[in-house]
């Protein structure tokens, strides 16, 4: 009779690491390792997704996370998040004004013309999704020529540094309520647990680093009819936000860098509201690190849905803060799904014990019925 080896776990883990590395380098002699620059630039939307879901604006580290996780977005965001959690917080910014963003793209679906004008910018929205076979065997020379020619041929743009925000125009007209002056400190989801009910700032922060597919699925349920936001995109903007920090000596705000971000504001129909005043449109807000338009739109819709749920009680999953906020985090959900792969021998043994006991009882009751039937 053989005994089950009590050694081996450590070796198995070591072996798993080695075979993962072997697969990463499986191209062998002709392989070229991916550079951080190639990932950050050529896979820029993937990098965007990781900085957003990782909750840390560090595109180079995001690129590294993508490389080491062999392109698994959940794993890459996770690595970045875990790195972030070991770093002390040295300074805090005050609330930043997205009106000061240096834009690469902004559109409004509410108005044909908006102050400052529509700017389509880099988007796949109107691209034909045909396979570009020319890219399959792209030479280094043609690759390098593209950006060179673009820069040479494009005239110096005559663009202002910043653009006014569309919602400001709606506010000026009284179609949206004026901005409330919030004085309370925003909820910090990295330092405080979510205890429901939570303030809107906690919901926004949770959604800003949500897993893209998860937040999209919940927002989509609202769009399809499990909810009734019926949004209009007042403005979607993508660009670089200057980050201002107070100067350590003077206290004056100084620019310390910029982050690429996406912001979306959706306007929804006005609602019956027993509070004072004339009815106005309502607003849903979405914003996240990186260039992630679908995520920002999904977030704006859910923000609007959650505001309704927080006020009147949820009538759909997408209006329920607990349901939405506890199920959109990629690190939480992927970790838990993965943990089912771990050994569960003890609990399964316990499960079998219960089932066998219950089966035995069932058997004996059946037997008793048969005996009684005979008599």
């Amino acid at each position: 009779m053989g005994y089950v080896a009590i050694k081996g776990g450590g070796q198995a883990i070591q072996g798993a690491e080695e075979v993962l590395e072997a697969l990463r380098t499986a191209e062998g002699e002709h392989g070229t390792p991916l550079t951080m620059q190639a990932i950050e630039n050529q896979l820029r939307l993937l990098t965007s997704r990781i900085v957003s879901e990782g909750g840390l604006y560090h595109p180079q580290l995001a690129a590294l996370a993508i490389k080491q996780s062999q392109g698994d977005t959940l794993e890459a965001a996770f690595a970045l998040r875990a790195y972030r959690s070991t770093k002390p917080r040295l300074l805090e910014t005050s609330a930043q004004d997205t009106g000061s963003m240096r834009l690469i793209r902004r559109i409004s679906s509410a108005f044909k013309d908006i102050p400052g004008g529509q700017m389509l910018g880099p988007t796949y929205d109107y691209a034909l999704r045909l396979m570009r076979l020319d890219l399959a065997n792209e030479s280094a020379e043609t690759f390098r020529a593209v950006a060179r020619e673009f820069l040479a041929e494009t005239p110096e743009p005559n663009l202002p540094d910043t653009f006014p925000k569309v919602v400001e125009a709606l506010r000026a007209e009284g179609l949206l309520p004026p901005v409330e002056n919030h004085t309370e400190t925003p909820f910090d989801i990295t330092r405080e647990p979510l205890i429901f009910p939570v303030p809107r700032s906690a919901a926004l922060a949770t959604m800003a680093r949500a897993e893209t597919g998860s937040i999209l699925a919940l927002a989509y349920s609202n769009m399809r009819g499990y909810g009734d936001v019926h949004p209009t995109v007042a403005e979607l903007r993508v660009g670089y936000l200057p980050v201002m920090l107070p100067h350590p000596i003077t206290g004056e705000p100084v620019e310390v860098g910029e982050v690429l971000m996406t912001e979306c504001e959706v306007v929804a129909m006005y609602e019956d509201d027993d509070s004072k005043g004339a009815p106005t449109f309502t607003l849903g807000y979405g914003a996240c690190f990186g260039h992630n338009e679908v995520k920002a739109i999904a977030m704006a819709i859910l923000d609007r849905a959650l505001q309704k749920g927080m006020r009147d009680g949820p009538s759909n999953p997408s209006e329920d803060p607990e349901f939405v906020l506890l199920h959109i985090d990629g690190v939480d959900s992927m970790g838990f799904a993965s943990h089912y792969k771990m050994p569960h021998y003890v609990t399964f043994q316990s499960d079998m014990d219960r089932l066998r006991t219950t089966q035995k009882k069932h058997e004996s009751v059946k037997q008793q019925d048969v005996n009684e039937g005979v008599q």
Binding site: Y3, G9, A82, E322, S338, T347, Q349, S350, R354
Partner: protein, 292 residues
Amino acid sequence: MSAGYNFGFLDEHAKKEVRRAILKAISIPGYQVPYSSREMPMGRGFGTGGLQLTLSLIGANDTLKVIDQGSDDSVNAVNLRQFIEMTCPGIDTTTHLSEATLIQSRHRIPETPLKPEQVLVLQVPYPDPLVVVEPSEDKRKIMHGEADYARLLVKLYEDIVKFDEITISHRYPTRINDHYVIDPSPIPRWDVPKLDNSPALVLFGAGREKKIYAVPPHTKGEPLAFEDVPFRVESFNDAQGKRRACARCGATDSFLDEFMNEDGSKRYQCSDSDYCDETLQASKMTEAATYA
């Protein structure tokens, strides 16, 4: 892009938060104290709650034992131990329960009774036993505060009506100090009585659900049951009613893992590998003494 990490991986503020939560968890036995729960470099569900407790407790003078399914050599136990060794230079690790000052475990409480100076940290996937009857945490918190477990008892009762037996196999709801009912983590029922009047402090950490709770030493821990349908631990008796023994060490007083042999027959062996080793060692010594 250097990645220098603090002793214990977590920064000192994160540890302080966990430590404050631990003191409240001890002061309010069985109450789930919320905390912010930092991301750890292993998956949520792989013991990140237990790990944050361990890393907030551990110091250079500690000797750590990490077990999963009762075994020190299970892949997850190895992984966690290696991570703690890497981030806590100077600590000692052991597989012998008697040498450990700090024990992190998943799914088992060691067979040998703990000593008062030891601390047991259990990893928790689902901290709230009320989740089966109430999905909203908001409402569950009120039910816990009022010690209102009527709906949970009804659920157990329905089981008895349907199956003539309480079907909960592990994670058996256990009432602490006559108030809070806890999910004792996925330990088998076999281990639940060890929580009652335990000589050592037991801490529970749920990383994904962001909760810490405790069963202090010498505290009442009572599995929920009915007078006519008592709480029962797993049975390891064979068809003739004889207690099965561990095929390796011969113990007849331990929780056994069941193995399938190639020929379809079954074999039983201690789940607690250290206990199995100790029993084997002791029986060899007795044998040697007998033949001497």
